[in-house]
Symmetry: C2
Subunit: 70 residues, 2 copies
């Protein structure tokens, strides 16, 4: 089955986090979110809101739209 948008977003966040050499803990801390929430997002299990997309983008020092590059 084709990936859904939650899975695409999760993969993209993981790719950018790893590129930045951040652990899930470090990204979570920079976002003010919980590590298990980041882990769920990366597995495509969360329907992330635009406010949390913005927090994650800021933590990764990129624009929100760059998280949607898929």
């Amino acid at each position: 089955m084709a990936e859904d948008i939650k899975q695409k977003l999760g993969k993209r966040i993981k790719e950018l986090r790893v590129k930045e050499e951040y652990s899930q803990e470090k990204l979570a801390s920079r976002c003010g979110l919980h590590r298990t929430y980041i882990s769920d997002i990366e597995r495509g299990e969360r329907n992330v809101s635009v406010e949390n997309i913005e927090k994650i983008a800021k933590a990764l020092k990129i624009e929100p739209r760059e998280l949607m590059w898929f």
Copy 2:
């Protein structure tokens, strides 16, 4: 005060909806969402999820990231 991301997203959706010459009703119907929900989103009053961003983008015949062009 600076616009928050919910307000930026709402303005962008409205701009693209008007460009497409869709009423809020028509966009809502194409998305499978309620007209009042679209109205709330356009006023920046909803923390829209990535699944609904995808529905709105499809209804507007664009990529999700184009809704984040701000």
